[in-house]
């Protein structure tokens, strides 16, 4: 059990350390474009994705670094992607929100992800592969109509998919009270999709609940919902947090998944993990910084040629 606790802590700490490195160095101009960090929500990604089997599929969203790292994605490739380097997950073409690695996909436009993930789940069902799909969405995405088209069709056709709704109670700067009417679980159950709900930042509560959901999806080959009430501690993007500092400080004291889980580890073991992860993250960060930028390569030029007609 101690070994398993350490694995979970290491995985969460790796996400935290990655995201803090990103935020710190964005200010120093070492990253380009934009980013949406996962600080405060680490237990969700780690808890859910620690139950995946090898062929399972994950579809993530704009706030996807934590999902990608918990899935097993490479740190250096993610740093490099955020820096627009050739060694990035997608060669620097996608940036923070557009990642693809093995069976992990993400896109930065909200809502449309859900039917695509549902189609993936159906394709695996038709092929008889046994793979299930996990798709992550936030409370903000509940405002997109296509979400409900996807839930309806997933239920109609028995798509083996787990909808993980991370309700961090704020969409960019808009609090949930101004954006979401009614109740969230009812959005799943209205379509006949059973939903489990948890208000916790404890990875030891999230992991077994996600496991139960995924087992049901696998066994029944039908969709399930998992609503995780959570908090993000960082800004929506980089410096756009409109919440009072005291609120964030209180959340960090009460709902930090790392603090909650750290108390279960012997101090020496915890410190060793942290030191190791910090070296791992820093090494990846430095390597990515030294990686070359992509040049408008053959592929890019072909794409441009494709867009034009060569007369």
């Amino acid at each position: 059990m101690a070994r398993e606790y350490e694995v979970l802590y290491r995985s969460m700490y790796r996400i935290r350390c990655f995201e803090e490195t990103v935020l710190d160095n964005f200010r120093r101009g070492l990253f380009s474009g934009t980013t949406h960090t996962y600080i405060g929500q680490e237990a969700n990604a780690v808890g859910v994705l620690s139950n995946l089997l090898e062929n399972d599929i994950v579809f993530s969203n704009h706030r996807g670094h934590g999902h990608y790292l918990a899935y097993g994605g490479d740190l250096r490739a993610l740093f490099a992607e955020l820096m627009g380097r050739a060694s990035g997950v997608c060669g620097g073409r996608g940036g923070s929100q557009h990642l693809h690695y093995k069976n992990f996909y993400s896109n930065g436009v909200q809502g449309g992800i859900l039917p695509i993930a549902t189609g993936m789940a159906l394709a695996e069902k038709f092929k008889g592969s046994g793979a299930v799909t996990v798709v992550f969405l936030g409370d903000g995405t509940l405002g997109e109509g296509v979400v409900y088209e996807a839930l309806n069709m997933a239920a109609l056709w028995g798509a083996p998919i787990l909808f993980v709704l991370e309700n961090n109670r704020i969409a960019q700067t808009t609090p949930i009270e101004l954006a979401v009417a009614g109740n969230i679980p009812a959005r799943f159950t209205a379509f006949g999709i059973p939903n489990r709900e948890l208000d916790s930042s404890d990875v030891l509560e999230i992991t077994p609940l996600a496991k139960a959901c995924l087992e049901e999806v696998r066994k029944s080959s039908t969709p399930r919902g998992l609503t995780l009430h959570t908090f993000r501690f960082g800004p929506h993007s980089k410096g756009d947090d409109s919440r009072p500092v005291e609120v964030i400080e209180r959340l960090r004291r009460e709902r930090d998944p790392l603090m909650i889980h750290a108390s279960r580890l012997p101090a020496a073991a915890r410190k060793q993990i942290e030191a190791e992860v910090e070296v791992e993250v820093m090494t990846a960060f430095q390597q990515a910084q030294a990686d070359p930028y992509p040049t408008p390569s053959e592929g890019t030029q072909r794409a441009e040629a494709e867009a034009k007609s060569i007369v």
């Binding site: 449309g112 695509i116 549902t118």
Partner: protein, 355 residues
């Protein structure tokens, strides 16, 4: 007589028979109805497990097809009316057309979205549009348009509309928006034998251009040229696609027999990325270019083709004109609709004014 509808329906049946990765997804597809325009007839009886009839959820079902395509299937989406492609814009632009490139070529999205466009049936402003122009110029999305013409080209180039659809479904690894003008469905396939008064030629897809265009599956969509049988060399190029090519063919005959104006009609089946080579080559010979489309005039397909011809030919091009639908919604009332959409008379008049 084989109609375009027959050809498309047979192509779908053949694709289903040849490859079990082919699925059909859309609204009201099940027999005996077989889709609103019957293009999908018989498929749900022959392949019940691969025909998915859906709720009224265009964006959602297109997204589902995208997911299926990303995971190795070859879905065909039927959007009941072309007007409804507005509902799938996010899926086409921000998801389907993006994945291959933004994931650094690690994935393919082999899907075909088929949809009927066009007016002249009195369906009114939201069921009569020719909306493909809003999807021309989306990098990563190929837009094809069926026409009645059929002629063998070189290599394995598709000969007619059925072969073109089959090729898009099974041989193209990238997403395709496949436009079918409604009036084509009942129109007969036209080939050398059926068109005594015309000569037809399928321009071979240029191998050289394929090499630089390798990001998207290589070109395969044919361009046809039509000339009046036994006419002197043409002094005008008409370019049109889809059902407008039918009207342009009629106009070509009238111009020749009634006005002794000899034109060459060039009919591409790929609208985007635009393939203007054959049109430009013809205009180089004739010195005059009339570009014709049913969609509204402003910022349309014809504007792009005209611009490319001007860039390529400069002063060699003596005269270039566009004929298109008026920049108005398509009215339901028959005489109003006929006034908004371009017809044979307008083509003849405009062509006469160019010589």
């Amino acid at each position: 007589m084989t109609t375009v509808l027959d050809a498309l329906n047979s192509a779908l049946h053949q694709a289903f028979a040849d490859d079990e990765r082919v699925y059909l997804i859309g609204q009201d597809l099940l027999d005996p109805y077989g889709g609103a325009f019957k293009v999908s007839k018989g498929l749900s009886s022959a392949y019940p497990e691969r025909v998915i009839t859906t709720p009224v959820s265009e964006a959602g079902l297109t997204g589902i097809a995208a997911g299926m395509a990303l995971r190795g299937l070859r879905p065909v989406v039927e959007i009941m009316f072309g007007d409804f492609v507005a509902l799938i814009a996010d899926q086409l632009v921000n998801h389907i057309a993006k994945f291959r490139w933004m994931y650094n070529n690690q994935v393919r999205v082999p899907l075909v979205v088929r949809t009927p466009m066009g007016g002249r049936r009195g369906y009114g402003p939201t069921h009569s549009q020719t909306l493909e122009k809003i999807y021309l110029g989306v990098p990563g999305l190929r837009v094809l348009a069926a026409c009645t013409l059929q002629a063998e080209g070189t290599n394995s180039q598709p000969a007619g509309p059925g072969e073109l659809l089959y090729h898009a479904i099974l041989r193209d690894d990238d997403p395709v928006l496949f436009i079918e003008n409604k009036l084509l469905y009942t129109a007969a396939i036209q080939n050398r034998e059926s068109m005594a008064e015309f000569t037809i030629q399928a321009i071979p897809v240029r191998e050289s251009s394929n090499r630089v265009r390798a990001l998207v599956t290589e070109d395969y969509a044919p361009t046809y040229t039509l000339n009046i049988q036994g006419a002197p060399s043409p002094h005008m190029t008409l370019a049109a696609y889809g059902y407008m090519a039918e009207l342009a063919r009629e106009a070509l005959a009238r111009l020749a027999y009634e006005h002794e104006i000899f034109g060459e009609l060039v009919v591409p089946t790929q609208l985007a990325p635009p393939r203007a080579e054959a049109i430009v080559a013809s205009a180089r010979r004739t010195g005059r270019l009339l570009v014709i489309e049913e969609g509204s005039l402003t910022l349309g397909w014809g504007a792009e083709i005209a611009a490319q011809a001007c860039e390529a030919l400069g002063p060699e091009l003596k005269c270039v004109r566009r004929l298109a639908g008026r920049d108005l919604p398509v009215p339901a009332s028959p005489p109003l609709e006929a006034w908004v959409l371009p017809g044979v008379d307008e083509i003849v008049q405009l062509a006469k004014s160019m010589v």
